[in-house]
Symmetry: C2
């Protein structure tokens, strides 16, 4: 078993071979790897069965077991995912800005690979394939450090890829040591790993943010809000909150709190409550909400700060759009917020003053997603302000360099 340092050194070598591959070469690798997944479906499912047996022994929760499980269909989806990445435009080589300086130097900013990307994730073996595909297309070597629960599945997926790689196989490496120490060591690999992207629950993400000296992109914690303004179209508002809360409550772009303007509360709340309850959503309301919809759970201070990830919605009546904006500034994680309004001024105020990765007018927060935004694929949703904010596609996995062409210029 390689040490983390050896893995890092191998990745640095491999990145240089990868960086000079053309688009056609990279696409061929992606398509070959898709075929390799299909050919090795039986091996991968057998390895996954071993993981599932361990999971049963360890009493893993049913929802996690579901995420860990690979089926023929899911392996086919992984293969199709790689083929789709092959079809996306190559982000590498784009020239962003070019100009001639007064001294005749031609300066241009070129999009180039990041180099080595590290991904730390939990027990979803499909991430192994998706993350490799995106990093490869973006021209970077990848070091994958999945959870111990999926180690057999991950090894089988990587073995399938390695079986068809003609290029240096270290363009994709799996950290087989799934101890906490190996993760911590990986977070200190400055000079080897250019960026670390954690994918998983907030515990994992916070641990990486806290311990990593390698630059990190923080992803995916979403305490998202829908604000129903006094001028809202009530039917639109009901549809949007039901969709934002209940279409898929476990994901980061689902709404957790609804704010309702006091002047529309009486008309809107009973309808919204009825529609939400039809979807089995529990409502936790403040006093003003209770006075209109009596049979709701009391909302406590901590409810405003909670990402339930479940069929629960906190609801609060506010005095004004300003109070809504203040509430969001205080409690939001900066992921996605939406205003439902027919007022031009309030839509403008809300989109200008709410400081989140995605700010919506009259639409569900559930659209914050690389595929929905038209990026073709995504590696995660950044909730930090550095480098990338919002869904991260291929472009967000690259960096740039300046190329300056002269004819002997020296600085005066």
């Amino acid at each position: 078993m390689k040490t983390i340092k050896e893995i890092g050194e191998a990745a640095v070598k491999a990145k240089r071979e990868l960086a000079v591959l053309g688009t056609a070469d990279k696409n061929k690798i992606l398509n070959d790897c898709a075929e390799a997944l299909r050919k090795n479906t039986d091996n991968i499912i057998a390895a996954n069965k071993a993981d599932l047996a361990n999971a049963e022994k360890n009493g893993m929760k049913a929802s996690l077991v579901d995420r860990l499980t690979l089926t023929e269909k899911r392996i086919e989806d992984m293969a199709v995912g790689l083929e789709q990445i092959a079809k996306l435009p190559d982000p590498i080589g784009e020239y962003l800005n070019s100009k001639t300086l007064p001294n005749g130097l031609i300066i241009t900013q070129k999009r180039v690979p990041m180099g080595v990307i590290g991904i730390i994730y939990e027990a979803r073996p499909n991430v192994t394939s998706d993350a490799f595909g995106l990093c490869l297309k973006a021209g970077s070597a990848v070091i994958l450090r999945g959870g111990s629960d999926a180690i057999n599945s991950n090894k089988a997926v990587i073995a399938a890829f390695h079986s068809v790689l003609d290029i240096n196989k270290d363009i994709v490496q799996l950290v087989e040591d799934t101890s906490r120490e190996s993760a911590n060591e990986m977070m200190k690999m400055n000079g080897y790993i250019d960026v670390l992207i954690p994918r998983g629950g907030s515990g994992l993400i916070q641990a990486v943010v806290k311990n990593s000296t390698v630059p990190v992109i923080e992803t995916g914690v979403g305490n998202c809000h829908v604000f129903v303004d006094e001028s809202a179209d009530i039917e639109k508002a009901v549809n949007i909150i039901v969709n934002a809360k209940a279409q898929r409550p476990g994901v980061c772009n689902a709404a957790e709190t609804m704010l309702v303007h006091k002047n529309i509360a009486k008309d809107f709340l009973p309808k919204a409550a009825a529609a939400l309850r039809e979807k089995n959503v529990e409502i936790r309301g403040d006093k003003a909400v209770k006075s209109i919809v009596p049979d709701v759970v009391d909302a406590l201070e901590e409810d405003w700060a909670t990402e339930y990830g479940d069929y629960i919605l906190a609801v609060k009546v506010v005095e004004s759009v300003d109070e809504a904006i203040d509430h969001i500034a205080k409690y939001s994680t900066g992921h996605s917020e939406s205003i439902v309004t027919e007022s031009y001024l309030n839509s403008k105020k809300f989109t200008e003053r709410v400081d989140s990765a995605a700010v919506y007018v009259n639409a569900s927060t559930r659209f914050t997603d690389g595929n929905e935004f038209g990026f073709g694929a995504e590696i995660g949703i950044s909730t930090q302000k550095l480098h990338a904010r919002g869904p991260m596609g291929l472009k967000e996995l690259t960096t740039t360099k300046y190329i300056i062409l002269g004819e002997g210029q020296i600085r005066q």
Copy 2:
């Protein structure tokens, strides 16, 4: 004296007032602050005298004393710097990408302020003014944590600014507690500070990279290379290496190592050595260099990795452009590298394969600078790959958010 936490909370309040200011308002503040510097020149110089007296007591090195010293001329330069920032285009509010999705959602990416920027720096009081000016124009509140050696000067500069601010004065705050603890506490202010930029020597920068949980932009360590290819124009090559090494050896974009193709070494090295020695540059050469220019110091392994910041140049003869590229991959800090060549193919290979922030053909590495690149001003030169790479102007001090306009869309 405010605690770091109180400073952070005040900055978060102030950033919201600042974020909605228009360009004219921000420019007025910059011009008012420039005037305030001029009006308070005597106060600032008196405060600086106190710092200089302490510096003398503490036996500060002459070069550092020079950086610490403020004169009427230097304060005027600071004022002019703020006025120049007022004249630069406002980066905020730019729309980067706009499109209509198939479902009718209009999605656009808007350039917005970072929020709160932290700057940790050493004993250069002009940074206090420059960093404030750039952050303000970029729409962000700034927390300045200068070195203890300049504390009186920094206080006087900030007092001058505060005396003319009509807006919340916490848009620019100085950390008056210059203990190591205050710096460490500042590095853990996630949720308050959006990005930390260290400015100073490599010790300071490494300490921030190592200890900060707030996202950091690493700046300014430069082990820069000039490679003289076999096809180089010798006169151009001599001019470029003399400029890159000796025009201002103490800065990060100065060259530290020269690589020379073996086929040009005999013709080129004697001329280069003579020209470099005229500028009092000490040459440290490998065996092949010594065989051509006998009276040079032996270069040791550690020389290839050293940023001298002084009139010293390491020189090595290489077999090929590939060896030069490999040497740079091994020892460079990824700042700036230049090839001197008349070969189209080698210029292409070098610019494609050298993975540094700025890669030059036939020009001095000394051009890596925000002003030279036409950005108008810079906060530093990023040597990391995340967010910004190379000179950082106003644009690099901003982030983006997505604004999505709908008419009731929900996700299917």
